[in-house]
């Protein structure tokens, strides 16, 4: 097998092997398949922490402080920083490392930057695979910094045990943003930059919003079962100053509290089920899209269908059904 050498080095904790494997899963889904297949049984030990929030709220600075504390506790940490790819040029500027400049020992801390390569949802296609590689590499905790969120970058909640959302005093734009999707997936709200005026006001605003959600809740058994991880947990709120590490004791306590909740309530099995289902659906979407694109580009029959569709004798839904038939996927 092509990657077996690197994989055995990965399992022994060689950072360069981890880095090479990450490059392969990023660039090539077939490589990802082979690699994940080999390392999967060695995964499942890392606690996955998702950090999200609007651009500039201090995610990278916050993570840098977290790393320092976890390293002091003797933990091995992996960090994945996702930044956006330019839709025009396909290039990306990955700048999160600037805030994580302290020289952490490479034995304890592994930081990797990723461009999202056009994927919506705040992560990159390969982020799940990279989490697995860092998990198998021996990280106790894997921290994922998502693309600075707008309203719909919520994919992190499918992968992370605990989702932390950062807000900052003032503005209020970030509250607007989290009113939609982000708010519903947050386990811990952190008002960062508590040294700036307005931190307590921001906390009050979040509280108000959560109250509103609780008081006007539409109860549905289906939703509360499927999303037990969110439904059974009341989001916590705290404030920190990431630049000097102020109030991180409380924050760490809240992360611990959420972890205990997952384990003691049994909700963790629900989380694992959702995570694996979602991941599989993503892979299927990817593979099927590829198959269909191949077909669309190569098959003469489909060219005829498209001509018919242009002439209005075939509509796109019917054409899709015909393609499903050609793929042998008809029910």
């Amino acid at each position: 097998m092509e990657y077996s050498n690197l994989i055995s080095q990965l399992l022994k904790g060689h950072p360069r092997a981890a880095a090479r494997l990450i490059t392969f899963v990023e660039n090539d889904i077939e490589a990802a398949e082979e690699i994940v297949n080999s390392i999967y049984e060695h995964t499942g030990n890392a606690y996955i922490l998702g950090i999200t929030g609007a651009p500039g709220t201090g995610k990278s600075t916050f993570i840098s402080t977290l790393i320092k504390i976890y390293v002091e506790q003797g933990k091995k940490i992996g960090i994945i920083c996702v930044d956006p790819t330019s839709p025009l040029t396909g290039g990306a500027l990955l700048g999160d490392r600037i805030r994580m400049k302290q020289l952490f020992s490479i034995d304890n801390v592994f930081i990797r930057s990723m461009a999202n390569r056009g994927q919506l949802g705040g992560l990159a296609r390969a982020t799940e695979d990279v989490i697995k590689i860092l998990d198998a590499y021996g990280c106790d905790i894997v921290i994922v910094e998502t693309v600075g969120v707008g309203q719909s970058e919520v994919d992190i909640f499918k992968s992370a045990h605990t989702v932390v959302v950062l807000l900052v005093p003032g503005l209020g734009d970030d509250i607007q943003a989290i009113k939609s999707g982000i708010m519903e997936i947050t386990d811990i709200f952190v008002v960062n930059k508590m040294d700036l005026p307005g931190a307590d006001k921001k906390i009050a605003e979040i509280q108000q919003m959560l109250e509103f959600k609780k008081n006007y809740k539409y109860d549905s058994k289906e939703i509360s079962e499927k999303f037990a991880k969110i439904e059974q947990w009341t989001p916590e709120i705290t404030k920190v100053n990431s630049k000097i590490g102020e109030n991180f004791d409380e924050l760490l306590g809240l992360i611990k509290k959420h972890k205990s909740f997952l384990e003691e309530s049994g909700v963790i099995s629900n989380y694992l089920k959702n995570r694996i289902t979602n991941e599989t659906i993503q892979i299927l979407k990817y593979k099927l899209t590829e198959k269909v694109e191949e077909l669309l580009n190569s098959d003469k029959e489909i060219g005829k269908y498209i001509d018919q569709a242009i002439k209005k004798s075939l509509d796109p839904y019917s054409m899709a059904n015909l393609i499903i038939k050609m793929l042998g996927l008809e029910k």
Binding site: N27, T89, G90, A92, K101, A115
Partner: protein, 133 residues
């Protein structure tokens, strides 16, 4: 779609050199040329840089040096990379590099040496044409 190899470049400022305008211009130009560019900020020690290279696995490293300390710092970086068995990464240096230093730097495996006023396309093409993998 399943295979999308991107050129990944690390741009950094070794040592106590605070001239960061050039490296930022460079980073933006390489991004606009479709590359994934990591910028790590100023005041990077050789160990910082080598650790970043190990973790990020870039195809190229651009060392931007205007302080005159290139002869002292670049060989250390090259030696440390070699220690880690990293020999398939293009390492380039540019900024203010006097002509008489080029042979010495070349003997340590460095390339580039572009200075003030270099056309950005020249640098983009240089990266594309000198990758080692």
């Amino acid at each position: 779609m399943s295979k999308e190899r991107k050129i990944k470049v690390l741009c950094c400022k070794p040592g106590l050199d605070g001239h960061d305008r050039g490296v930022k211009v460079l980073a933006r130009a390489l991004r606009d040329a479709g590359m994934e560019v990591i910028y790590t900020g100023i005041h990077q020690t050789p160990d910082d840089i080598v650790n970043t290279v190990i973790q990020e696995d870039p195809d190229a490293v651009m060392l931007s040096m205007l302080s005159g300390s290139h002869n002292a710092i670049c060989p250390i970086i090259m030696d440390k990379l070699k220690e880690h068995g990293i020999d398939d990464v293009l390492v380039a240096v540019g900024g203010i590099i006097p002509d008489e230093d080029k042979t010495f730097l070349e003997s340590h495996g460095l390339k580039g040496f572009y200075g003030p006023g270099t056309d950005l396309k020249t640098i983009v093409d240089f990266v594309k044409n000198n990758l080692k993998r």
